[in-house]
């Protein structure tokens, strides 16, 4: 079994680690980096609770090997309120009650962030489409959609769409 030295940027900080080839990115994030905001839900590429950004794209970190992140940037939920202030998406989930148990929330937020970076003014249908890889068993999704709409509006106020 091969071991590898990887250098990657995690939430803006470059770091170097030694990993086994078979270590999954989600285990690396939770156990080696102690960033436990990223959750493990289904462990079968179904639920999206483990969603992080890899080079700016939302992916299921249970379905990527840590060694594949070598030379890339990883962003986890911890990056969003790094300055101590809630990100508009986090504020939206708070204001609109976008969570009950909260287990799916980090993944939902990372998927929504990918959407809003590409499409700052999505329709309701586009929002539902974008989170279709994330399962929530509590809310029935309506409140999550409202939370993302709230965040989209806040973000557009900050940076008006040309």
């Amino acid at each position: 079994m091969s071991k590898h030295t990887i250098t990657l940027t995690v939430n803006g900080q470059e770091q170097t680690h030694e990993v086994d080839a078979r270590l999954l990115l989600v285990h690396f994030i939770r156990e080696n980096l102690n960033l436990t905001g990223t959750h493990i839900g289904c462990d079968s590429t179904s639920c999206g609770a483990c969603t992080v950004h890899l080079n700016g794209r939302a992916v299921k970190s249970c379905t990527v090997f840590a060694v594949q992140a070598n030379g890339k940037s990883v962003e986890t939920i911890e990056a969003l309120a790094a300055a101590g202030n809630l990100h508009p998406l986090q504020e939206g989930f708070w204001e609109k009650h976008g969570l009950q148990c909260g287990y799916c929330t980090p993944g939902m937020i990372m998927s929504a962030k990918d959407l809003l970076e590409k499409n700052p003014d999505p329709t309701e249908e586009e929002i539902r489409w974008a989170i279709s890889g994330n399962l929530c068993r509590c809310t029935g999704y309506n409140k999550i959609v409202e939370a993302i709409q709230y965040a989209a509006e806040k973000l557009r106020e900050k940076e008006p769409v040309a």
Binding site: M1, H4, R22, D43, G48, W129, S132, G133
Partner: protein, 289 residues
């Protein structure tokens, strides 16, 4: 769940990838998007000794038209296909397919080449590429080989690629005038495999169908065309009776298994209905409606 142990290589050139493949033979698996392979490794359904990760071969990520073909690099992500203006405007069957593969998170990693090389009849691209009459381009130690899609799928998870070949490109003929295509899939939920899905690419001359190819998803152990349904259409003036005959032909010639998604009878009847719907949509597009 934790995958078994393996040695990992991440070549930065195709030549390097080929020589690694040559060296390790059938102990090695190519890691493309990994969205089928990594789950299989977590379940220990696949226990490769060596992984050759080709994600750094960014030269294999492109979608472009040349010489009357759409050429797709094997490492093109499904999400790039989904967002391609070229695909949306001219390759409707492919655009329909790209947006219903798995879910958006999986599509950010999953690749077109991986989808085909995995050769799972439940995957969506096999039926679509059969309907397009695509060509698979493979690179091996002896050079490049062109494999017609009709010769590519040889069994469940099996295809015509040699052990030492890498699938590098998929080539689709640009649809001519009065051509249209559509993909219609019914799934229990986003991210599940199809209960039944139909890929159609056809050409019309007025109300007469002059050419048609139909691919079926998750309805047989090997990805298949509905050739009897095609024959029910070609040369015919399209009427509701002709569409029904094509639907019934597809329902009869497919070979689904009963599973959690439904009984054989249900899947056949769904196939009849979806074939008619996909044909209707493709004909509307061919007529520019």
């Amino acid at each position: 769940m934790i995958p078994g142990e393996f040695d990992y290589y991440s070549p930065t050139t195709l030549d390097e990838a080929l020589s690694l493949l040559q060296e390790h033979g059938d102990d090695a698996k190519i890691l493309a998007g990994g969205q089928s392979l990594i789950p299989a490794m977590r379940y220990r359904l696949a226990v490769p000794e060596v992984l050759i990760d080709i994600n750094n071969l960014t030269e294999l990520e492109y979608v472009r038209e040349d010489n009357g073909h759409l050429t797709i690099g094997a490492m093109t992500r499904e999400s790039d296909l989904e967002e391609s203006t070229l695909v949306k405007e001219k390759y409707h069957l492919l655009a329909d397919t790209a947006e219903v593969i798995a879910d958006p998170l999986v599509r950010n990693m999953a690749t077109v080449g991986g989808n085909l090389a995995h050769s799972d009849p439940a995957n969506d691209h096999p039926a679509t590429m059969l309907a397009y009459n695509a060509k698979i381009i493979a690179l091996g130690p002896a050079g490049t080989r062109v494999i017609p899609i009709d010769d590519f799928f040889t069994g469940l998870f099996e295809n015509a690629l040699e052990e030492n070949e890498i699938l590098t490109q998929i080539r689709l003929p640009r649809p001519g005038p009065n051509s249209g295509g559509a993909y219609i899939k019914v799934e229990r939920k986003v991210g599940d495999y199809a209960i039944s899905a139909i890929a159609v690419q056809l050409t019309m001359d007025g109300d007469t169908c002059t050419a048609a190819r139909i691919g079926l998803t998750n309805l047989s152990p090997t990805p298949m065309r509905a050739k009897n349904a095609e024959q029910a259409l070609i040369g015919q003036v399209i009427t509701p009776d002709v569409l029904e005959a094509a639907g019934q032909a597809a329902a009869a010639e497919c070979n689904p298994s009963a599973d959690l998604r439904g009984s054989v009878d249900y899947k056949r009847d769904l196939t009849r209905v979806l074939t008619k719907r996909a044909l209707t949509k493709a004909i509307e597009r061919a007529k520019g409606a």
